[in-house]
Protein backbone atom coordinates (compact mmCIF):
# COMPACT_ATOMS: atom_id res chain seq x y z
CA UNK A 1 0.00 0.00 0.00
CA UNK A 2 2.25 2.82 -1.22
CA UNK A 3 -0.20 5.53 -0.08
CA UNK A 4 0.46 4.76 3.57
CA UNK A 5 4.22 4.68 3.28
CA UNK A 6 4.05 7.91 1.31
CA UNK A 7 1.94 9.43 4.07
CA UNK A 8 4.37 8.37 6.78
CA UNK A 9 7.27 9.78 4.80
CA UNK A 10 5.31 13.00 4.21
CA UNK A 11 4.74 13.63 7.93
CA UNK A 12 8.33 14.78 8.31
CA UNK A 13 7.68 17.61 5.87
CA UNK A 14 4.40 18.68 7.46
CA UNK A 15 5.91 19.54 10.83
CA UNK A 16 4.71 23.19 10.82
CA UNK A 17 1.12 22.07 10.36
CA UNK A 18 1.47 19.32 12.96
CA UNK A 19 2.86 21.71 15.55
CA UNK A 20 0.12 24.26 14.86
CA UNK A 21 -2.61 21.63 15.10
CA UNK A 22 -1.10 20.25 18.31
CA UNK A 23 -0.93 23.63 19.97
CA UNK A 24 -4.44 24.50 18.80
CA UNK A 25 -5.83 21.45 20.60
CA UNK A 26 -3.55 22.00 23.57
CA UNK A 27 -4.77 25.56 24.09
CA UNK A 28 -8.40 24.44 23.88
CA UNK A 29 -7.79 21.71 26.45
CA UNK A 30 -5.74 23.89 28.79
CA UNK A 31 -8.49 26.47 28.63
CA UNK A 32 -10.97 23.86 29.82
CA UNK A 33 -8.83 22.43 32.59
CA UNK A 34 -7.43 25.49 34.30
CA UNK A 35 -9.55 28.14 35.94
CA UNK A 36 -7.23 31.06 36.68
CA UNK A 37 -5.34 33.43 34.35
CA UNK A 38 -6.64 31.55 31.38
CA UNK A 39 -6.25 34.39 28.91
CA UNK A 40 -2.63 34.92 29.86
CA UNK A 41 -1.92 31.21 29.69
CA UNK A 42 -3.52 30.85 26.27
CA UNK A 43 -1.54 33.82 24.97
CA UNK A 44 1.74 32.36 26.26
CA UNK A 45 0.93 28.99 24.74
CA UNK A 46 0.05 30.61 21.42
CA UNK A 47 3.36 32.45 21.31
CA UNK A 48 5.17 29.25 22.24
CA UNK A 49 3.32 27.39 19.50
CA UNK A 50 4.14 30.01 16.89
CA UNK A 51 7.79 30.08 17.93
CA UNK A 52 8.00 26.30 17.63
CA UNK A 53 6.27 26.41 14.25
CA UNK A 54 8.79 28.96 13.04
CA UNK A 55 11.60 26.76 14.29
CA UNK A 56 10.39 23.60 12.56
CA UNK A 57 9.64 25.58 9.39
CA UNK A 58 13.18 26.90 9.31
CA UNK A 59 14.46 23.36 9.84
CA UNK A 60 12.79 22.32 6.59
CA UNK A 61 15.28 24.46 4.67
CA UNK A 62 16.89 23.83 2.27
CA UNK A 63 13.59 22.55 0.99
CA UNK A 64 13.55 20.59 -2.16
CA UNK A 65 10.43 20.58 -4.23
CA UNK A 66 8.25 17.59 -3.57
CA UNK A 67 4.64 16.51 -3.35
CA UNK A 68 3.31 15.13 -0.09
CA UNK A 69 0.35 13.03 1.04
CA UNK A 70 -0.54 11.42 -2.27
CA UNK A 71 0.14 14.66 -4.17
CA UNK A 72 -2.26 16.67 -2.01
CA UNK A 73 0.33 19.11 -0.74
CA UNK A 74 3.50 20.59 -2.15
CA UNK A 75 6.50 21.60 -0.13
CA UNK A 76 8.90 24.05 -1.74
CA UNK A 77 10.63 27.32 -0.87
CA UNK A 78 7.51 29.15 -2.06
CA UNK A 79 5.29 27.38 0.48
CA UNK A 80 7.84 27.82 3.26
CA UNK A 81 8.06 31.54 2.49
CA UNK A 82 4.33 31.87 3.10
CA UNK A 83 4.41 29.67 6.20
CA UNK A 84 6.99 31.97 7.76
CA UNK A 85 4.96 34.96 6.61
CA UNK A 86 1.79 33.65 8.29
CA UNK A 87 3.52 32.72 11.53
CA UNK A 88 5.07 36.19 11.67
CA UNK A 89 1.86 38.10 11.04
CA UNK A 90 -0.14 35.97 13.48
CA UNK A 91 2.59 36.46 16.09
CA UNK A 92 2.15 40.24 15.83
CA UNK A 93 -1.60 39.84 16.42
CA UNK A 94 -1.08 37.49 19.38
CA UNK A 95 1.46 39.86 20.94
CA UNK A 96 -0.71 42.94 20.60
CA UNK A 97 -3.90 41.31 21.90
CA UNK A 98 -3.30 41.10 25.68
CA UNK A 99 -3.09 44.89 26.05
CA UNK A 100 -6.45 45.41 24.35
CA UNK A 101 -10.01 45.09 25.62
CA UNK A 102 -11.69 43.65 22.51
CA UNK A 103 -11.97 40.04 23.55
CA UNK A 104 -14.17 39.13 26.53
CA UNK A 105 -12.17 37.50 29.30
CA UNK A 106 -14.13 34.24 29.21
CA UNK A 107 -13.42 33.69 25.52
CA UNK A 108 -9.74 34.56 25.34
CA UNK A 109 -8.66 30.93 25.27
CA UNK A 110 -10.78 30.28 22.20
CA UNK A 111 -9.51 33.48 20.61
CA UNK A 112 -5.87 32.44 20.74
CA UNK A 113 -6.74 28.89 19.71
CA UNK A 114 -8.56 30.23 16.65
CA UNK A 115 -5.61 32.43 15.76
CA UNK A 116 -3.49 29.27 15.58
CA UNK A 117 -6.23 27.49 13.63
CA UNK A 118 -6.36 30.21 10.99
CA UNK A 119 -2.56 30.07 10.72
CA UNK A 120 -2.85 26.33 10.20
CA UNK A 121 -5.42 26.85 7.46
CA UNK A 122 -3.26 29.45 5.74
CA UNK A 123 -0.20 27.17 5.91
CA UNK A 124 -2.17 24.37 4.29
CA UNK A 125 -3.44 26.75 1.64
CA UNK A 126 0.07 27.84 0.71
CA UNK A 127 0.97 24.16 0.20
CA UNK A 128 -2.23 22.93 -1.43
CA UNK A 129 -1.48 21.19 -4.72
CA UNK A 130 -4.85 19.63 -5.36
CA UNK A 131 -8.27 21.13 -5.95
CA UNK A 132 -9.71 19.17 -3.02
CA UNK A 133 -6.98 20.39 -0.72
CA UNK A 134 -7.48 23.97 -1.91
CA UNK A 135 -11.18 23.84 -1.05
CA UNK A 136 -10.51 22.28 2.36
CA UNK A 137 -7.77 24.71 3.32
CA UNK A 138 -9.70 27.69 1.99
CA UNK A 139 -12.72 26.67 4.05
CA UNK A 140 -10.57 26.23 7.12
CA UNK A 141 -9.30 29.79 6.74
CA UNK A 142 -12.77 31.11 5.92
CA UNK A 143 -14.72 29.44 8.72
CA UNK A 144 -12.14 30.53 11.28
CA UNK A 145 -12.29 34.05 9.86
CA UNK A 146 -16.07 34.14 10.31
CA UNK A 147 -15.71 33.07 13.93
CA UNK A 148 -12.99 35.60 14.62
CA UNK A 149 -14.89 38.42 12.90
CA UNK A 150 -17.90 37.75 15.12
CA UNK A 151 -15.93 37.36 18.30
CA UNK A 152 -17.57 40.33 20.01
CA UNK A 153 -20.94 38.72 19.40
CA UNK A 154 -22.69 40.98 21.90
CA UNK A 155 -22.01 43.90 19.57
CA UNK A 156 -24.37 44.21 16.64
CA UNK A 157 -21.62 45.37 14.25
CA UNK A 158 -19.46 42.36 14.98
CA UNK A 159 -22.31 39.89 14.61
CA UNK A 160 -23.33 41.59 11.36
CA UNK A 161 -19.75 41.40 10.10
CA UNK A 162 -19.59 37.67 10.78
CA UNK A 163 -22.94 37.00 9.11
CA UNK A 164 -22.14 39.05 6.01
CA UNK A 165 -18.74 37.46 5.78
CA UNK A 166 -20.22 33.97 6.05
CA UNK A 167 -22.89 34.61 3.40
CA UNK A 168 -20.52 36.21 0.91
CA UNK A 169 -18.01 33.48 1.66
CA UNK A 170 -20.52 30.71 1.06
CA UNK A 171 -21.53 32.14 -2.31
CA UNK A 172 -17.94 32.72 -3.37
CA UNK A 173 -16.82 29.25 -2.32
CA UNK A 174 -19.83 27.67 -3.98
CA UNK A 175 -19.03 29.44 -7.24
CA UNK A 176 -15.40 28.44 -6.98
CA UNK A 177 -16.21 24.79 -6.32
CA UNK A 178 -18.52 24.79 -9.33
CA UNK A 179 -15.67 26.11 -11.46
CA UNK A 180 -13.41 23.43 -10.06
CA UNK A 181 -15.95 20.75 -10.93
CA UNK A 182 -15.90 22.03 -14.50
CA UNK A 183 -12.10 21.91 -14.46
CA UNK A 184 -12.26 18.35 -13.23
CA UNK A 185 -14.75 17.51 -15.95
CA UNK A 186 -12.46 19.01 -18.57
CA UNK A 187 -9.16 17.57 -17.38
CA UNK A 188 -10.16 14.42 -15.50
CA UNK A 189 -7.78 15.23 -12.65
CA UNK A 190 -7.90 17.27 -9.47
CA UNK A 191 -4.14 17.61 -9.20
CA UNK A 192 -2.83 21.02 -10.22
CA UNK A 193 0.44 19.66 -11.56
CA UNK A 194 -1.27 17.16 -13.85
CA UNK A 195 -3.61 19.69 -15.38
CA UNK A 196 -1.47 21.30 -18.09
CA UNK A 197 -0.75 17.93 -19.71
CA UNK A 198 -4.36 16.87 -19.35
CA UNK A 199 -5.54 20.06 -21.00
CA UNK A 200 -2.99 19.74 -23.78
CA UNK A 201 -3.94 16.11 -24.32
CA UNK A 202 -7.68 16.51 -24.16
CA UNK A 203 -7.98 19.44 -26.55
CA UNK A 204 -10.52 21.08 -24.24
CA UNK A 205 -12.94 23.66 -25.56
CA UNK A 206 -11.32 27.04 -24.76
CA UNK A 207 -14.67 28.57 -23.82
CA UNK A 208 -15.42 25.88 -21.23
CA UNK A 209 -11.96 26.28 -19.79
CA UNK A 210 -12.33 30.05 -19.67
CA UNK A 211 -15.65 29.80 -17.83
CA UNK A 212 -14.11 27.39 -15.33
CA UNK A 213 -11.18 29.75 -14.74
CA UNK A 214 -13.56 32.67 -14.30
CA UNK A 215 -15.61 30.82 -11.69
CA UNK A 216 -12.54 29.67 -9.76
CA UNK A 217 -11.27 33.23 -9.80
CA UNK A 218 -14.38 34.28 -7.85
CA UNK A 219 -13.29 32.23 -4.85
CA UNK A 220 -9.72 33.49 -4.91
CA UNK A 221 -10.80 37.05 -5.63
CA UNK A 222 -13.01 36.93 -2.57
CA UNK A 223 -10.10 35.81 -0.42
CA UNK A 224 -7.80 38.61 -1.59
CA UNK A 225 -10.73 41.08 -1.63
CA UNK A 226 -10.38 42.05 -5.29
CA UNK A 227 -13.13 44.04 -7.00
CA UNK A 228 -15.89 42.95 -7.74
CA UNK A 229 -15.66 40.37 -4.94
CA UNK A 230 -14.69 42.92 -2.31
CA UNK A 231 -18.11 43.95 -0.99
CA UNK A 232 -17.71 42.09 2.26
CA UNK A 233 -14.41 43.71 3.18
CA UNK A 234 -15.41 47.18 4.48
CA UNK A 235 -18.26 45.94 6.69
CA UNK A 236 -16.28 43.01 8.01
CA UNK A 237 -13.17 45.10 8.63
CA UNK A 238 -15.20 47.72 10.48
CA UNK A 239 -17.28 45.31 12.55
CA UNK A 240 -14.64 42.76 13.49
CA UNK A 241 -12.44 43.26 16.55
CA UNK A 242 -9.58 45.43 15.26
CA UNK A 243 -6.80 42.87 15.92
CA UNK A 244 -8.77 40.41 13.81
CA UNK A 245 -9.20 43.07 11.12
CA UNK A 246 -5.47 43.59 11.07
CA UNK A 247 -4.92 39.86 10.61
CA UNK A 248 -7.61 39.53 7.93
CA UNK A 249 -6.07 42.33 5.91
CA UNK A 250 -2.69 40.60 5.83
CA UNK A 251 -2.82 36.85 6.53
CA UNK A 252 -5.77 35.46 4.56
CA UNK A 253 -5.06 38.00 1.81
CA UNK A 254 -1.52 36.69 1.43
CA UNK A 255 -2.85 33.12 1.61
CA UNK A 256 -5.21 34.02 -1.22
CA UNK A 257 -2.27 35.24 -3.27
CA UNK A 258 -0.30 32.09 -2.47
CA UNK A 259 -3.04 29.80 -3.74
CA UNK A 260 -3.75 32.11 -6.67
CA UNK A 261 -0.14 31.93 -7.81
CA UNK A 262 0.17 28.19 -7.33
CA UNK A 263 -3.15 27.47 -9.00
CA UNK A 264 -2.61 29.60 -12.07
CA UNK A 265 1.11 29.04 -12.54
CA UNK A 266 0.92 25.29 -11.96
CA UNK A 267 -2.39 24.34 -13.52
CA UNK A 268 -3.05 26.99 -16.15
CA UNK A 269 0.41 27.87 -17.39
CA UNK A 270 3.22 25.97 -19.04
CA UNK A 271 6.88 26.82 -18.48
CA UNK A 272 8.47 28.59 -21.44
CA UNK A 273 12.07 28.81 -20.43
CA UNK A 274 13.62 29.81 -17.11
CA UNK A 275 11.35 32.12 -15.14
CA UNK A 276 8.82 32.46 -17.92
CA UNK A 277 5.42 30.90 -18.50
CA UNK A 278 2.79 30.84 -21.19
CA UNK A 279 -0.92 30.52 -20.45
CA UNK A 280 -2.13 27.02 -21.17
CA UNK A 281 -4.23 26.50 -24.30
CA UNK A 282 -3.88 30.22 -25.08
CA UNK A 283 -6.52 31.22 -22.57
CA UNK A 284 -6.06 34.91 -21.94
CA UNK A 285 -6.37 34.83 -18.17
CA UNK A 286 -3.52 37.33 -17.72
CA UNK A 287 -5.63 40.00 -19.40
CA UNK A 288 -8.62 39.04 -17.26
CA UNK A 289 -6.58 39.39 -14.08
CA UNK A 290 -5.02 42.62 -15.35
CA UNK A 291 -8.47 44.17 -15.77
CA UNK A 292 -9.43 42.99 -12.28
CA UNK A 293 -6.20 44.47 -10.95
CA UNK A 294 -6.81 47.88 -12.55
CA UNK A 295 -10.45 48.00 -11.42
CA UNK A 296 -9.54 46.82 -7.91
CA UNK A 297 -7.02 49.53 -7.21
CA UNK A 298 -9.12 52.25 -8.78
CA UNK A 299 -12.31 51.35 -6.91
CA UNK A 300 -10.46 50.78 -3.64
CA UNK A 301 -8.67 54.11 -3.80
CA UNK A 302 -11.63 56.16 -5.00
CA UNK A 303 -13.97 54.90 -2.27
CA UNK A 304 -11.28 55.25 0.39
CA UNK A 305 -11.23 59.01 -0.21
CA UNK A 306 -14.63 59.47 1.42
CA UNK A 307 -14.20 57.31 4.49
CA UNK A 308 -14.43 58.77 7.97
CA UNK A 309 -13.80 55.58 9.94
CA UNK A 310 -10.15 54.57 10.01
CA UNK A 311 -10.83 50.84 9.88
CA UNK A 312 -13.06 51.31 6.86
CA UNK A 313 -10.48 53.53 5.22
CA UNK A 314 -7.76 50.96 5.79
CA UNK A 315 -10.14 48.30 4.45
CA UNK A 316 -10.45 50.13 1.14
CA UNK A 317 -6.72 50.77 1.17
CA UNK A 318 -6.22 47.01 1.62
CA UNK A 319 -8.49 46.40 -1.38
CA UNK A 320 -6.42 48.83 -3.44
CA UNK A 321 -3.23 47.09 -2.38
CA UNK A 322 -4.60 43.76 -3.58
CA UNK A 323 -4.89 45.49 -6.95
CA UNK A 324 -1.27 46.65 -6.84
CA UNK A 325 -0.02 43.18 -5.97
CA UNK A 326 -2.05 41.64 -8.78
CA UNK A 327 -0.05 43.76 -11.24
CA UNK A 328 2.89 41.40 -10.78
CA UNK A 329 0.66 38.38 -11.31
CA UNK A 330 -0.25 39.05 -14.92
CA UNK A 331 3.31 39.13 -16.25
CA UNK A 332 3.84 35.37 -16.21
CA UNK A 333 7.50 35.79 -15.39
CA UNK A 334 9.73 35.36 -12.38
CA UNK A 335 10.25 39.08 -12.04
CA UNK A 336 6.54 39.69 -11.56
CA UNK A 337 6.26 36.93 -8.96
CA UNK A 338 9.32 38.28 -7.21
CA UNK A 339 7.76 41.75 -7.03
CA UNK A 340 4.55 40.26 -5.62
CA UNK A 341 6.28 38.35 -2.84
CA UNK A 342 8.50 41.28 -1.96
CA UNK A 343 5.53 43.62 -1.87
CA UNK A 344 3.65 41.20 0.39
CA UNK A 345 6.48 41.34 2.95
CA UNK A 346 6.59 45.11 2.86
CA UNK A 347 2.81 45.35 2.91
CA UNK A 348 2.64 43.12 6.01
CA UNK A 349 4.94 45.43 7.95
CA UNK A 350 3.29 48.70 7.00
CA UNK A 351 -0.32 47.53 7.06
CA UNK A 352 0.00 45.70 10.38
CA UNK A 353 1.78 48.82 11.64
CA UNK A 354 -1.05 51.14 10.62
CA UNK A 355 -3.64 48.85 12.19
CA UNK A 356 -1.50 48.50 15.29
CA UNK A 357 -1.52 52.28 15.80
CA UNK A 358 -5.31 52.28 15.43
CA UNK A 359 -5.54 49.46 18.00
CA UNK A 360 -3.12 51.12 20.39
CA UNK A 361 -5.07 54.38 20.25
CA UNK A 362 -8.52 52.78 20.41
CA UNK A 363 -8.04 52.19 24.14
CA UNK A 364 -7.04 55.68 25.35
CA UNK A 365 -8.91 57.53 22.60
CA UNK A 366 -12.08 55.40 22.73
CA UNK A 367 -12.58 55.99 19.04
CA UNK A 368 -11.58 54.74 15.62
CA UNK A 369 -13.00 57.75 13.78
CA UNK A 370 -10.82 60.04 11.70
CA UNK A 371 -12.23 63.19 13.31
CA UNK A 372 -10.97 62.10 16.74
CA UNK A 373 -7.43 61.87 15.38
CA UNK A 374 -7.28 65.67 15.08
CA UNK A 375 -4.31 67.11 16.94
CA UNK A 376 -3.10 63.67 17.92
CA UNK A 377 0.58 64.47 17.45
CA UNK A 378 0.55 66.89 20.39
CA UNK A 379 -1.23 64.39 22.63
CA UNK A 380 0.94 61.37 21.98
CA UNK A 381 3.87 61.89 19.67
CA UNK A 382 5.35 58.47 18.97
CA UNK A 383 2.24 56.65 17.65
CA UNK A 384 1.36 59.67 15.52
CA UNK A 385 4.82 59.80 13.95
CA UNK A 386 4.80 56.04 13.44
CA UNK A 387 1.36 56.24 11.82
CA UNK A 388 2.62 58.93 9.45
CA UNK A 389 5.55 56.71 8.45
CA UNK A 390 3.30 53.68 7.88
CA UNK A 391 0.86 55.71 5.79
CA UNK A 392 3.58 57.31 3.66
CA UNK A 393 5.04 53.86 3.16
CA UNK A 394 1.63 52.58 2.05
CA UNK A 395 1.56 55.44 -0.46
CA UNK A 396 4.98 54.43 -1.72
CA UNK A 397 7.04 57.48 -0.91
CA UNK A 398 10.83 57.08 -0.81
CA UNK A 399 12.87 56.25 1.20
CA UNK A 400 10.35 53.93 2.87
CA UNK A 401 9.79 50.22 2.30
CA UNK A 402 6.57 50.76 0.36
CA UNK A 403 8.51 52.65 -2.29
CA UNK A 404 10.88 49.77 -2.91
CA UNK A 405 7.96 47.36 -3.13
CA UNK A 406 6.09 49.51 -5.63
CA UNK A 407 9.28 50.15 -7.55
CA UNK A 408 9.76 46.42 -8.13
CA UNK A 409 6.15 46.04 -9.27
CA UNK A 410 6.32 48.91 -11.73
CA UNK A 411 9.78 47.95 -12.94
CA UNK A 412 8.58 44.41 -13.67
CA UNK A 413 5.61 45.80 -15.60
CA UNK A 414 7.63 48.22 -17.66
CA UNK A 415 10.34 45.69 -18.46
CA UNK A 416 7.69 43.28 -19.67
CA UNK A 417 7.16 45.56 -22.65
CA UNK A 418 4.53 47.79 -24.17
CA UNK A 419 1.65 45.39 -23.60
CA UNK A 420 1.40 46.13 -19.87
CA UNK A 421 2.32 49.81 -19.95
CA UNK A 422 -1.33 50.80 -19.50
CA UNK A 423 -1.49 48.85 -16.25
CA UNK A 424 1.61 50.61 -14.94
CA UNK A 425 0.04 53.97 -15.79
CA UNK A 426 -3.15 53.03 -13.92
CA UNK A 427 -1.01 51.94 -10.96
CA UNK A 428 0.92 55.19 -10.83
CA UNK A 429 -2.24 57.28 -11.10
CA UNK A 430 -3.73 55.27 -8.26
CA UNK A 431 -0.69 55.88 -6.07
CA UNK A 432 -1.30 59.59 -6.53
CA UNK A 433 -4.95 59.23 -5.54
CA UNK A 434 -4.00 57.22 -2.48
CA UNK A 435 -1.64 59.95 -1.33
CA UNK A 436 -4.68 62.18 -0.84
CA UNK A 437 -6.46 60.06 1.72
CA UNK A 438 -3.35 58.86 3.50
CA UNK A 439 -2.16 62.43 3.80
CA UNK A 440 -5.58 63.44 5.12
CA UNK A 441 -4.95 61.31 8.23
CA UNK A 442 -1.48 62.77 8.64
CA UNK A 443 -2.89 66.28 8.25
CA UNK A 444 -5.52 65.60 10.92
CA UNK A 445 -2.89 64.29 13.30
CA UNK A 446 -0.29 67.00 12.83
CA UNK A 447 -1.93 70.15 11.49
CA UNK A 448 -5.47 70.21 12.85
CA UNK A 449 -6.36 71.34 16.34
CA UNK A 450 -8.01 68.80 18.59
CA UNK A 451 -8.83 68.38 22.25
CA UNK A 452 -5.91 68.62 24.65
CA UNK A 453 -4.83 66.16 27.30
CA UNK A 454 -2.08 63.59 26.98
CA UNK A 455 -2.85 60.06 25.92
CA UNK A 456 -0.83 57.13 27.20
CA UNK A 457 -0.37 54.18 24.91
CA UNK A 458 0.30 50.76 26.45
CA UNK A 459 4.03 50.08 26.57
CA UNK A 460 3.57 46.67 24.90
CA UNK A 461 2.02 48.47 21.95
CA UNK A 462 4.80 51.05 21.83
CA UNK A 463 7.38 48.27 21.63
CA UNK A 464 5.43 46.50 18.90
CA UNK A 465 4.96 49.70 16.91
CA UNK A 466 8.71 50.25 17.07
CA UNK A 467 9.28 46.63 16.01
CA UNK A 468 7.20 47.21 12.87
CA UNK A 469 8.46 50.73 12.29
CA UNK A 470 12.11 49.70 12.06
CA UNK A 471 11.68 47.28 9.12
CA UNK A 472 9.33 49.71 7.37
CA UNK A 473 12.08 52.32 7.38
CA UNK A 474 15.02 49.95 7.05
CA UNK A 475 13.66 48.01 4.08
CA UNK A 476 13.48 51.27 2.18
CA UNK A 477 17.22 51.74 2.50
CA UNK A 478 18.74 48.27 2.72
CA UNK A 479 16.71 45.36 1.44
CA UNK A 480 19.31 42.99 -0.01
CA UNK A 481 18.81 40.10 2.48
CA UNK A 482 15.03 40.19 2.05
CA UNK A 483 15.49 40.41 -1.70
CA UNK A 484 17.73 37.32 -1.65
CA UNK A 485 15.24 35.42 0.50
CA UNK A 486 12.37 36.39 -1.82
CA UNK A 487 14.35 35.38 -4.86
CA UNK A 488 15.11 32.00 -3.30
CA UNK A 489 11.41 31.55 -2.47
CA UNK A 490 10.41 31.77 -6.11
CA UNK A 491 11.27 28.13 -6.73
CA UNK A 492 7.79 26.75 -6.72
CA UNK A 493 7.21 24.83 -9.88
CA UNK A 494 10.52 23.64 -11.23
CA UNK A 495 10.88 19.85 -10.96
CA UNK A 496 7.30 19.48 -9.76
CA UNK A 497 5.92 20.68 -13.03
CA UNK A 498 7.72 18.02 -15.02
Amino acid sequence: MPVITDNIASLGYATPELVLAGFFLFILLADLVFTRNRGQMACTLAILGLAMTLLVTLRLYPAGERLLFAKMMAIDPFALFFKIFFVGSTAVIVLLSPATAYIPRTRQGEYYAFLLAITLGMSLLASAADLVMIVLALEMVSVTSYLLAGFMKEQAASAEAALKYAIYGAVATGTMVYGMSLLYGITGTTNLYEMPQAIARGGAAPLALFVAVLLVLVGFGYKIAAVPFHMWAPDVYEGAPTPVTALLSVGPKAAGFAVLIRFFYAALAVPAGPGRWNPVADIDWPLLVAVISAVTMTVGNLIAINQSNLKRLLAYSAIAHAGYILMGFVLLNGQGLYAMLFYLIVYAFMNLGAFLVVIALAGPLRSEELKDYAGLASRTAFPAVAMAVFLFSLTGIPPLAGFVGKFYLFAALIEAGRAWLWLAVVGVLNSVISLYYYARIVKAMFLEKGPSGRLTVASAHQVLIAALLIPTVLLGIYWAPVARFTDYSLRLLGPLAR
Binding site: M1, I8, L25, L32, T106
Partner: protein, 129 residues
Protein backbone atom coordinates in the same frame (compact mmCIF):
# COMPACT_ATOMS: atom_id res chain seq x y z
CA UNK B 1 -16.12 12.74 -22.28
CA UNK B 2 -19.28 13.69 -24.12
CA UNK B 3 -20.65 10.19 -23.69
CA UNK B 4 -20.11 10.31 -19.92
CA UNK B 5 -22.17 13.45 -19.57
CA UNK B 6 -24.74 12.14 -22.03
CA UNK B 7 -25.37 9.45 -19.42
CA UNK B 8 -26.28 12.15 -16.92
CA UNK B 9 -28.72 13.69 -19.37
CA UNK B 10 -30.35 10.34 -20.07
CA UNK B 11 -30.60 9.74 -16.32
CA UNK B 12 -32.38 13.07 -15.81
CA UNK B 13 -34.81 12.42 -18.66
CA UNK B 14 -35.59 8.90 -17.49
CA UNK B 15 -36.08 10.21 -13.95
CA UNK B 16 -38.58 12.84 -15.05
CA UNK B 17 -40.43 10.41 -17.32
CA UNK B 18 -40.62 7.76 -14.60
CA UNK B 19 -42.10 10.20 -12.12
CA UNK B 20 -44.53 11.74 -14.62
CA UNK B 21 -45.77 8.38 -15.92
CA UNK B 22 -46.27 6.78 -12.51
CA UNK B 23 -48.14 9.83 -11.19
CA UNK B 24 -50.26 9.97 -14.32
CA UNK B 25 -51.14 6.27 -14.12
CA UNK B 26 -52.03 6.61 -10.44
CA UNK B 27 -54.25 9.57 -11.27
CA UNK B 28 -56.09 7.57 -13.93
CA UNK B 29 -56.81 4.50 -11.81
CA UNK B 30 -57.12 5.62 -8.18
CA UNK B 31 -60.50 6.31 -6.52
CA UNK B 32 -61.16 9.92 -5.52
CA UNK B 33 -62.95 10.31 -2.12
CA UNK B 34 -61.50 13.31 -0.24
CA UNK B 35 -62.45 13.76 3.42
CA UNK B 36 -61.29 16.60 5.73
CA UNK B 37 -59.06 14.21 7.63
CA UNK B 38 -57.38 13.04 4.42
CA UNK B 39 -56.80 16.59 3.22
CA UNK B 40 -55.16 17.80 6.41
CA UNK B 41 -51.37 18.15 6.63
CA UNK B 42 -49.66 14.97 7.73
CA UNK B 43 -47.78 15.50 10.99
CA UNK B 44 -46.96 12.03 12.30
CA UNK B 45 -50.60 11.34 13.14
CA UNK B 46 -50.93 14.47 15.28
CA UNK B 47 -53.44 17.22 14.69
CA UNK B 48 -51.57 19.99 12.85
CA UNK B 49 -51.12 22.99 15.14
CA UNK B 50 -50.15 26.44 13.86
CA UNK B 51 -47.64 27.38 11.19
CA UNK B 52 -44.35 25.72 10.34
CA UNK B 53 -42.64 29.13 10.22
CA UNK B 54 -41.89 29.55 13.90
CA UNK B 55 -38.73 30.42 15.79
CA UNK B 56 -36.68 27.38 16.67
CA UNK B 57 -34.48 27.10 19.68
CA UNK B 58 -31.03 27.33 18.09
CA UNK B 59 -29.77 24.63 20.43
CA UNK B 60 -31.32 22.16 18.01
CA UNK B 61 -28.62 23.15 15.54
CA UNK B 62 -25.87 22.92 18.12
CA UNK B 63 -26.86 19.43 19.16
CA UNK B 64 -27.23 18.46 15.51
CA UNK B 65 -23.71 19.72 14.79
CA UNK B 66 -22.23 17.73 17.64
CA UNK B 67 -24.16 14.71 16.45
CA UNK B 68 -22.86 15.05 12.90
CA UNK B 69 -19.27 15.13 14.11
CA UNK B 70 -19.68 11.74 15.72
CA UNK B 71 -21.70 10.48 12.81
CA UNK B 72 -18.73 11.24 10.57
CA UNK B 73 -16.47 9.52 13.06
CA UNK B 74 -18.44 6.28 12.62
CA UNK B 75 -18.24 6.73 8.87
CA UNK B 76 -14.44 6.86 9.08
CA UNK B 77 -14.15 4.14 11.71
CA UNK B 78 -16.02 1.55 9.71
CA UNK B 79 -13.75 1.31 6.63
CA UNK B 80 -10.77 1.64 8.94
CA UNK B 81 -11.99 -1.36 10.91
CA UNK B 82 -12.65 -3.30 7.74
CA UNK B 83 -9.13 -2.69 6.46
CA UNK B 84 -7.38 -3.12 9.80
CA UNK B 85 -6.68 -6.85 9.54
CA UNK B 86 -5.12 -6.34 6.13
CA UNK B 87 -2.97 -3.52 7.47
CA UNK B 88 -1.76 -5.63 10.39
CA UNK B 89 -0.74 -8.30 7.92
CA UNK B 90 1.36 -5.71 6.12
CA UNK B 91 3.05 -4.63 9.36
CA UNK B 92 1.27 -1.28 9.31
CA UNK B 93 -1.06 -2.08 12.20
CA UNK B 94 0.65 0.23 14.69
CA UNK B 95 0.58 3.10 12.27
CA UNK B 96 -3.10 2.57 11.50
CA UNK B 97 -3.88 2.31 15.21
CA UNK B 98 -2.04 5.54 16.11
CA UNK B 99 -3.71 7.21 13.14
CA UNK B 100 -7.15 6.45 14.50
CA UNK B 101 -6.20 7.31 18.08
CA UNK B 102 -5.13 10.75 16.92
CA UNK B 103 -8.34 11.18 14.95
CA UNK B 104 -10.59 10.15 17.83
CA UNK B 105 -8.45 12.16 20.24
CA UNK B 106 -9.13 15.32 18.25
CA UNK B 107 -12.86 14.60 18.33
CA UNK B 108 -12.68 13.88 22.07
CA UNK B 109 -11.20 17.33 22.65
CA UNK B 110 -14.26 18.68 20.87
CA UNK B 111 -16.58 16.62 23.04
CA UNK B 112 -14.79 17.72 26.20
CA UNK B 113 -15.13 21.29 24.98
CA UNK B 114 -18.89 21.27 24.39
CA UNK B 115 -19.41 19.35 27.63
CA UNK B 116 -17.37 21.72 29.78
CA UNK B 117 -18.95 24.77 28.14
CA UNK B 118 -22.38 23.39 29.04
CA UNK B 119 -23.53 23.03 25.45
CA UNK B 120 -24.79 19.48 25.97
CA UNK B 121 -27.33 20.63 28.56
CA UNK B 122 -30.64 21.68 27.06
CA UNK B 123 -30.80 24.73 29.28
CA UNK B 124 -27.34 26.19 29.16
CA UNK B 125 -25.89 26.94 32.60
CA UNK B 126 -24.61 30.44 33.33
CA UNK B 127 -21.37 30.79 31.42
CA UNK B 128 -18.41 30.25 33.67
CA UNK B 129 -16.03 29.07 30.99
Amino acid sequence: MVTEFAGVLVFIIVGILFLAISLLLARLFRPHHPTPAKLSTYECGEQPVGQAWIRFNNRFYLIALVFIIFDVEIMFLYPWGAAFRELVAKNLGLYAFIDMVVFIGILLVGLAYVWRKGDLAWIKPQQRF
